[in-house]
């Protein structure tokens, strides 16, 4: 409870520090909107040219894009600190964190907030609303639950991927771009439903970084389609895999931190 209060206090302070430079802040908000807007434009143009993709209509594709973006950018906004493990290790700032009477992870998460991403989240929400309308989604309580699960557990997968990056930077000091491929590549790839990809990519994003289980299954349920031919209950049970993925990465990160050696500068 105390930790949560600490988190909110840090976020409030960080937000205020960002708002100290209003002009710069507004421009950054705009640039984030331009960034995701550019990707949204690409999806819209693809729909314009190709109409549909396998069993998915244009509206479905927009909805997938929206849910993935919202999930990813919520994490980038509120858990940004985890991605700054690399610089923390390089500068030796992590030493200070180890001395304080709080968990390292709590402090790292409280260390940064990226409110610029708010506009990216909004663009994602807009894509979701547009897609839902075009695909005539009729909302029920169960569908709302499925959406909540997709965003929460999908977010945990993203956080788990950030943890892998953190582990690499603790072990090898330099942050490794290969892990980036999984995080950002995963985001790009899983903006589209998994069943359009060849087998190796399907396995990668189902069994390794389970975006297919956490996001694509519940979203297909919302859209009234069946992704893998599994019963409806799977749409509610499979996202839990995201929680398992997160826990494994959490334990591994704790383990990696035990072998942390300061750069001492």
């Amino acid at each position: 409870m105390d930790t949560i209060r600490l988190y909110f206090r840090s976020m409030k302070m960080l937000l205020r520090s960002h708002l100290q430079y209003p002009a710069s802040f507004i421009l950054q908000l705009c640039s984030q909107a331009v960034m995701l807007g550019g990707e949204l434009l690409a999806v819209l143009l693809i729909i314009d040219r190709f109409d549909s993709l396998n069993q998915w209509s244009g509206g479905d594709l927009l909805f997938f894009f929206g849910v993935m973006s919202v999930t990813f950018y919520i994490m980038e906004c509120f858990a940004r600190g985890v991605t700054s493990f690399g610089p923390l290790v390089q500068k030796g700032t992590l030493d200070i964190f180890l001395l304080r009477p709080r968990g390292v992870l709590t402090q790292v998460i409280c260390y940064q907030l990226d409110p610029r991403r708010l506009t990216a989240i909004l663009v994602g929400v807009a894509a979701m609303v547009m897609g839902g309308r075009q695909s005539n989604v009729t909302w029920t309580a169960l569908k709302a639950l499925a959406l909540a699960e997709a965003i929460v557990f999908g977010g945990l997968v993203v956080l788990g991927l950030f943890f892998i990056e953190a582990m690499f930077s603790v072990r090898s000091v330099k942050s490794i771009e290969v892990v980036n491929a999984l995080t950002y590549g995963g985001r790009s790839a899983c903006q589209y439903p998994i069943d359009i990809y060849p087998e190796p990519l399907k396995i990668l994003f189902t069994a390794v970084a389970p975006f297919a289980l956490t996001i694509h299954l519940p979203v297909s349920y919302i859209l009234g389609k069946n992704l893998f031919g599994w019963p409806d209950a799977a749409a509610f049970l499979c996202p839990l895999a995201g929680g398992a993925f997160f826990l494994i990465m959490y334990v591994l990160l704790q383990f990696a931190l035990r072998y942390y050696r300061s750069t001492g500068s």
């Binding site: 002009a23 421009l27 705009c30 143009l45 040219r49 993709l53 490794i176 771009e177 491929a181 990809y197």
Partner: protein
């Protein structure tokens, strides 16, 4: 004069070739993105074939991924230089600062691109039919593409320097400059090949400076623009290169006239 630009270029060249490990990570990352995009376009084409052949789109994706470094700018040096007061020393040098930063940027792009492009091209050639890059449409087309690539590089560096001039003025590289950068990603065909934009848009988009960087060379490579059309393409590129360099140099002259030296 030319000699000093050349040595600035060489210095940067040497610096960039130091980070071979990082380049390897970058290559793997870029290959992975390339594979994802190719898989996506293959799935899209399976549903609804287009007049533009799939092989042209796949080649487009691979060349974009190989030359990714030409589009993105990584020069935050000018901001540091102004913020720390380093600019005062740079102004003392008997050099045109615009030219100095221009060649530095060019070295960054050529090295970054070269180190990544060759291994990636080998990989893209070895990939099975339909996944990898296809051979150029014709030999003259290939030679013209190299020429177009050079003109595209000039345009890219000139655009970067205009961004730098904006950064110098606002002392913030995240606002205007980053927006211009993000615009570049969409309009240069990095996110979605310009060849897949609606046909009516293409008439305008291909004339914009962003399309000169990679889109024009790629179209010459895939033969979408015939060899006969090449003089017109190269002329458009050349005109943009001259205009952008002139505009950038003008902005720099304006900025340097009243630069504030900070730091101590």
């Amino acid at each position: 004069m030319i000699k000093s630009y050349f040595s600035a270029f060489r210095m940067r060249w040497k610096m960039e070739t130091q980070y071979r490990g990082a380049a390897l990570g970058g290559i793997l990352c870029q290959i992975f993105f390339g594979l994802i995009l190719v898989a996506l376009y293959r799935a899209l084409y399976a549903g609804r074939p287009q007049t533009l052949p799939l092989s042209a789109v796949v080649s487009y994706v691979w060349i974009q991924q190989c030359c990714f470094r030409i589009v993105t700018s990584a020069e935050s040096g000018i901001l540091d230089s102004v913020m720390t007061g380093q600019i005062a020393y740079e102004l003392c040098r008997p050099l045109n600062l615009y030219g100095y930063y221009f060649v530095r940027d060019m070295a960054y792009k050529i090295v970054g691109c070269g180190m990544r492009a060759f291994p990636m091209l080998v990989f893209a050639i070895l990939l099975p039919e339909g996944w990898g890059i296809s051979a150029p449409a014709s030999l003259p087309g290939f030679v013209l593409m190299l020429l177009a690539l050079f003109l595209g590089l000039l345009c890219a560096c000139a655009l970067d320097n205009i961004c730098m001039a904006a950064t110098m003025k606002t002392l913030d590289n995240r606002g205007v400059a980053s927006m211009l950068n993000l615009l570049a990603l969409s309009l240069s065909g990095n996110i979605l090949p310009l060849t897949l934009f609606p046909d009516s848009w293409q008439k305008v988009i291909t004339l914009l400076p962003y399309a000169q960087m990679l889109d024009a060379p790629i179209r010459l490579y895939t033969g979408e623009w015939a060899v006969a059309a090449a003089p017109r393409v190269l002329l458009v590129q050349g005109v943009w290169a001259v205009l952008l360099i002139a505009f950038g140099a003008f902005l720099w002259r304006q900025n340097l006239r009243r630069v504030i030296v900070q730091g101590g």
